[in-house]
Symmetry: C2
Subunit: 359 residues, 2 copies
Amino acid sequence: MKRTTISDIAREAGVSKGAVSYALNGRPGVSEATRSRITAIAARMGWAPSSVARALSGGRAGAFGLVIDRPAEVLAAEPFFMRLIAGIQHELGPGPTSLVLQVSPDHDTELEIYHRWHAERRVDGVLLIDLRADDNRLDVLASIGLPAVVIGEPLGRTDIPSAWIDDRAAIDEVLDYLVALGHRRVVRVAGPREFLHSRMRSAAFLAAAARVGLEAADVVHTDYSGESGAAAARRALVSALPPTAMVFDNDVMAVAALGVAQELGLSVPGQLSLIAWEDSLLCRLVRPALSAVRRPVGEFGALAVSLLRQVVTGASVSDACTSAPILVTRASSGPVCRDRPDVSPWASTADWFVPPRFP
Amino acid sequence: MKRTTISDIAREAGVSKGAVSYALNGRPGVSEATRSRITAIAARMGWAPSSVARALSGGRAGAFGLVIDRPAEVLAAEPFFMRLIAGIQHELGPGPTSLVLQVSPDHDTELEIYHRWHAERRVDGVLLIDLRADDNRLDVLASIGLPAVVIGEPLGRTDIPSAWIDDRAAIDEVLDYLVALGHRRVVRVAGPREFLHSRMRSAAFLAAAARVGLEAADVVHTDYSGESGAAAARRALVSALPPTAMVFDNDVMAVAALGVAQELGLSVPGQLSLIAWEDSLLCRLVRPALSAVRRPVGEFGALAVSLLRQVVTGASVSDACTSAPILVTRASSGPVCRDRPDVSPWASTADWFVPPRFP
DNA sequence: ATCCTTCGCTGATCCGGTTCAGTGGTGGAG
DNA sequence: CTCCACCACTGAACCGGATCAGCGAAGGAT
């Protein structure tokens, strides 16, 4: 199964390899007549450029890399990554650039992967995700000279620009909505404190809470798991002054909290409103269905790819923002129940203390 | 940021490029003393082989390809793919082979991608998923000579072997379990009829139903979506002789059916047992938690990679099976309620006919 | 008619490895 | 001592494109 090369085409057309290269790449150096003749022959012979040969001589690999440093279990649970990947693919399209994906067990391995990819010239640039507060990936990548784009929060760098979603605006929208419904005590159940996006959303939440004059606004950091979301919800709901609304950093924790509320005999949304971050099938399938902030995740990935395209050409690129996330309200959020006592009625009984059901 | 090449090492060591190549690849042709000296220099200079150069001369691309032909929305909803990818990655490890992923909008595009990958020499082989009954991918790949492995069902081919999970055994286990609980009428809500795995599971289901002597065993094919799962459940449950147990081909449909059962006022598992295929967070988070068949999806991907490794070396490989899937029973399945009438009590009322809640 | 420019194309080189035919030197067998 | 086998290594070709200097021919200006 011999594959056709430009040499075959050159022989067939009776010209030199160089002429074929010019013709097929749309570069000047051949006449239009010759170009169309060569193009026709190439099409007839089913030629496609060898990505490796092109990469070797051109210095480009024709691929972008994405390392995901999350446990496999979390990856499977979070639709975010697949939607992101789908968006990346959509932007890459059928073009000459493909996506190389690697799941990394930890942070150090991730750095090793970047080093290896660079040394092997396997990728032309990488997409960075889940930026941490003290993240050294930016410095490492800058030092080895591997182009990169952050999928996350704006950092104001021109060498490593960011694609970002305006979560701050979404948080404002959510709090305005909750306040309009009469909520005065809101708890945010955030992701890991290490993640910059989680931190920034927490800061935005506290700022918005101060702006709208909430009576109480707390932030609890978790590991994104259903278990920790349930635990956070349980602790908040059995406290002396429980919140009337809770905002979660993903869908899994919100669903887990819904289960906790049901165990505690709390009606949702009568006594407790729940809002998830990241709309998903999960949000729609549970009863009551969960209100959620729907973020343009696919667009997020696509935007990052288009930024990275510019960075690898050597351009100085600035941060870019996706379209705005929107709050999708469903049955899990509603007005505060007027006749609800300040101190929860079940706080005096002991049967709410059920063991967590999440194995 | 000049990257070191074997020429740099050769100059440094005072030997030829060829000697360096022999030394670094552990091939005979250099003395042990020279080899260790060259290896040390390479390590000191931070050398890593250029994957493209190696691919160009060696004829191997150093990558495997995976095309996923499912809508982005389904991809996001199904944890299967991410778990599969995680398993693939784990098997590939930090080695010289990486994974190239492509999401395809349709079947024809998928074939184009294979042609392009082959012509571009971008991948050494591909992993095939979601095999269809009249799938021409096998023939196309065989004709262009691109090594492939099926992730799915055993086909008995040696040129394109299969990695497979023994779903038949799992179906036997599920039906034995349901029969032991007293169920006599079971409906299986399957995936699309086009998918071979869906068909084979349906055939296995009907065979097992005959073996254990079920009173009624029906199969309904769907598109895997929550909507169609809900519709299938609704139709089955309002029929004259409704099933007492339903087995679903994924988790999403089972959860949707749970919502339908609640709308119909059916207790789960009192009046209806539900079993999902593919255990997931979703199964654990809903109330009642769903019994599910947990399949070794990660192992599935890993096994396929190891098969593909052998195929690309030109070996004739036979099908390989993963470890057995297991049935994880939770609150959604239980014994048939003795006092349940054969004709459902709600069939006479009209209020069960709620419109589907899935937008 | 001559010079100069531009066009269209050729031939060679390069990218960074792999691989193979040689080649010089060493050592053992005869 | 000679011959031969073998070892360690060299030099060059090769993979399939990209790129560049150069070259002949055509055309325009003078």
